[in-house]
C-alpha cells in the first residue's frame, strides 16, 4: 500500500501531473524538449496513477486476506508491443484478447483476418476509454504497432536479439508508446498534432515553456522508472523484497512514508476513474 500511495500521491500527482498539464492544457506550441518532457511526464503520470491505484488495492486486499492478480508488470521495460500489452493493464488487455480478439477470429483464420482482428480489438479498446476520436486514434496506433510487429516477426522469423538489440528495441518500444500517449492525453487532434510536431522538431522557433525544475524532476523520475522496470523485467516485487538488505528496506519504506505525508495529496481523483 505504501508503494502504491507513493506512486500515486508523490510521483503522479506531486511531480508529474503539472508538467504534463503545462504542455497539454495550454495553447502554446512546444519545442522538442518541452514536447518530449510533457509527454514523458504523462507517460509516468498515467503509469504511477494507475499502477499506484492497482498496487494500493492489492495491498489493501492482502491486509484483508484476499489475493488479487497483478495489473501491471513493469510495462516500460517491454520489448515489442505484444510484450507491452502483456504488462500494461493486464486485466483489460486480457479481457480484450479473450472477449474481442479471439471471438473476432484471433490468429486462426489466416493473416488478413488476424490483422483485422488486431485492429478491431485495439480500436474498440481505445473507444472503451471514452467517446473521443483521440482515444480511437490511440487504440488504432497500438493496433498498427501490433500489426507491424507481427509482420516483422513473420518476416524475420528466428531472429533472437542480443542484449544490445534488446536495449535498443526496448527504448524504441517506450518511445513509440509515448507517441500514443500524446493522443491519449490531448483533448483534441489539433493539440495532439501540435505536440507531435514539437516532438519531431517541427515547431521551429517555439518559445521554451517549462522551467528548469520540471525538466530536471521529470528526467530523474522517468529515468528512475524506466531503469526500475528494466531491472524488474523478469522479477516480482516479492522476489526483490527477499533480496534487499533489511536496513535498506526499512529506510526506503520510511522515506516513502515521509514523502507521502509531506507531499500532502490534494485529493486528485485517479485518472482511470473517468473511463
Amino acid at each position: 500500500m505504501t508503494l502504491g500511495l507513493f506512486q500515486k500521491v508523490v510521483l503522479a500527482d506531486g511531480f508529474l501531473a503539472s508538467p504534463a498539464e503545462t504542455i497539454f492544457d495550454n495553447d502554446a506550441a512546444p519545442g522538442a524538449l518541452d514536447a518530449w518532457i510533457g509527454t514523458l511526464a504523462f507517460s509516468g503520470q498515467i503509469f504511477c496513477d494507475f499502477a499506484g491505484y492497482s498496487t494500493t488495492a492489492i495491498g489493501a486486499a492482502l491486509c484483508l486476506g484476499f489475493t488479487m492478480p497483478d495489473n501491471f508488470r513493469f510495462p516500460y521495460a517491454a520489448v515489442g508491443f505484444s510484450d507491452f500489452w502483456r504488462r500494461w493493464h493486464i486485466t483489460l488487455s486480457s479481457w480484450l484478447r479473450d472477449y474481442l480478439y479471439i471471438p473476432l477470429g484471433g490468429n486462426r483464420h489466416g493473416e488478413t483476418r488476424t490483422y483485422l482482428a488486431l485492429m478491431g480489438t485495439m480500436l474498440l479498446g481505445g473507444l472503451w476509454h471514452g467517446a473521443s476520436w483521440t482515444f480511437v486514434a490511440w487504440g488504432g496506433i497500438h493496433g498498427l504497432y501490433l500489426s507491424v510487429k507481427r509482420l516483422l516477426r513473420t518476416r524475420f522469423h528466428g531472429y533472437r536479439p542480443g542484449p544490445l538489440a534488446m536495449l535498443v528495441l526496448g527504448l524504441l518500444t517506450y518511445a513509440l508508446v509515448n507517441i500514443t500517449w500524446v493522443f491519449f492525453r490531448a483533448h483534441t487532434f489539433g493539440k495532439a498534432w501540435q505536440v507531435l510536431r514539437g516532438m519531431f522538431g517541427f515547431n521551429a522557433g517555439a518559445a521554451p515553456i517549462l522551467p528548469a525544475w520540471p525538466l530536471l524532476s521529470v528526467a530523474v523520475i522517468i529515468g528512475g522508472i524506466v531503469l526500475a522496470h528494466a531491472a524488474m523485467r523478469r522479477r516480482t516485487l516479492e522476489s526483490m523484497l527477499t533480496a534487499v538488505p533489511v536496513p535498506l528496506l526499512a529506510s526506503t519504506w520510511a522515506v516513502m512514508l515521509f514523502a507521502i505525508v509531506i507531499t500532502q495529496g490534494s485529493g486528485n481523483a485517479f485518472i482511470y476513474f473517468q473511463f
Binding site: T67, A207, E238, L249
Partner: protein
Amino acid sequence: MPSSTSSSSAGAGVRLTAADRPGVAQPVPMRDIPPRPWRGIMLVAATIALLLVGAWEWHWRTFGVVAPDYNNSNGEWAIQRRRVDSGDGRQTVIVGSSRLLFDLQLPVWERLTGTRPIQLAMEGTSPMFALEDLAKDPHFGGRLLVGVDPDLFFTGRENREGLAKFARDETPSQRSGEWLSRTLLEPYFAFYDSDYALPTVLKRQPWPRRDGVRSMVAVRKLFVQDADRGTAMWSKVEHDPVYNALAKRIWTQFFRLPPRGIGADSPQTVADRQIGRAVQAVATMRARGVEVVFIRSPSTGPFLDYENRNYPRATTWDALLARSGARGIHFEDHPQLQGYTLPEWSHLSRSEARRFTAALVPLVDGTRTPAAP
C-alpha cells in the same frame, strides 16, 4: 515459491497472470509474503518516518507557520456554502476575493451585530460565480456583501473554477476526507499547508533559469484561517521584512502587465460584461428581498496606482453601482475607512482589519435599502 510462478513465456520468476493464458480464466493468484522480519522492519520504518515528520514540522514552525490554520480548500468553502441551504439562509453572506476575506474580521462583526457572517470570499477569484450561484438559490434571503477587488471583479478571473458545483456535488468520500483533514490534521500540524507541500517547496528552490521561459513567481502564503473561514493576514507578512519584500515583489510582477482583455475583447468590454452579470444577479436577488452591498476595501501604494490605471473608477465601480442600483461602500468615500496600514499594499494586517471591520459595520447598516417590490 509455489505454483504462483512460472517459467512460461513471461520468464522465470514472473508470476502468471491472465496475460500468459489466452482464453483461460484468470489464474488463481498466489502471493507469498517474503520471509523477512516484517514486524521489526515496520517498527523501524514507522519510527524513522515519524522522526522525519517531526523534524519537518519543527522546521516549518521555526519558519513561522502556525497551527491551527485551516486549509482554504474547496471542501471548507463547500461547508460554508451549504449553511445557506440548511437554515442559515437569512444570514449575512460575504462573497468577494481576498480583500473581504482578509479585511472583514468575523469575530468583530459578530461582537458588534450579534451574528457571525458566512464567509464565502475566495482569494484570487472573481466573486461573480458565487453571486450568480446565490442569485439562483431560493434559500438565500439574507444580506450579501460583495467585495470588489478591481483586478478580479472586472476581469472575471477565477483561481478556483467549479466551486459552486463542487459544493453541490461533493461526494461522500470527499466529504469524509475533508472531515478527517479538519479533525485530525489541520488543527495540529503546521506543515499541512499547500505552500509547504514537498513539490511546492522543491519547485521554489533557486534552480537555474532556463533562457526564454516566461514564468512568474507564485503568490506565497499570506493568511491564516479559522475553521469557519474567518481569515486574517499571516503575521509573518507583517513582521518579517524579507517575507514582506517578497510579497511586494510578487505583486509588482502584475503591475507590469497590460490590462487584461479576453480574446479580441478589450478590457473595458470585459469589465462591462462582468458588470452586466452582476446587474442581473443583483436584480434577481433584490426581487426576493436580498440586500446587496458592494464593498471596495482599501489598497495603497503601487497596487492602488495599478488599479486606478487599469480599472478607472468612473468606468468600473461607478458604472457598477449606477447600473445595478445597489449601494456601494468605497474606501475613498469614507474617512473612517482610510489611513490603515497595508503591509503588502493590498490587504490589512489582522489588527488593522479589526479596526476596519468595526468602522465598516455601521456603514453597512446605514446603507440598508428597502427591498425591491
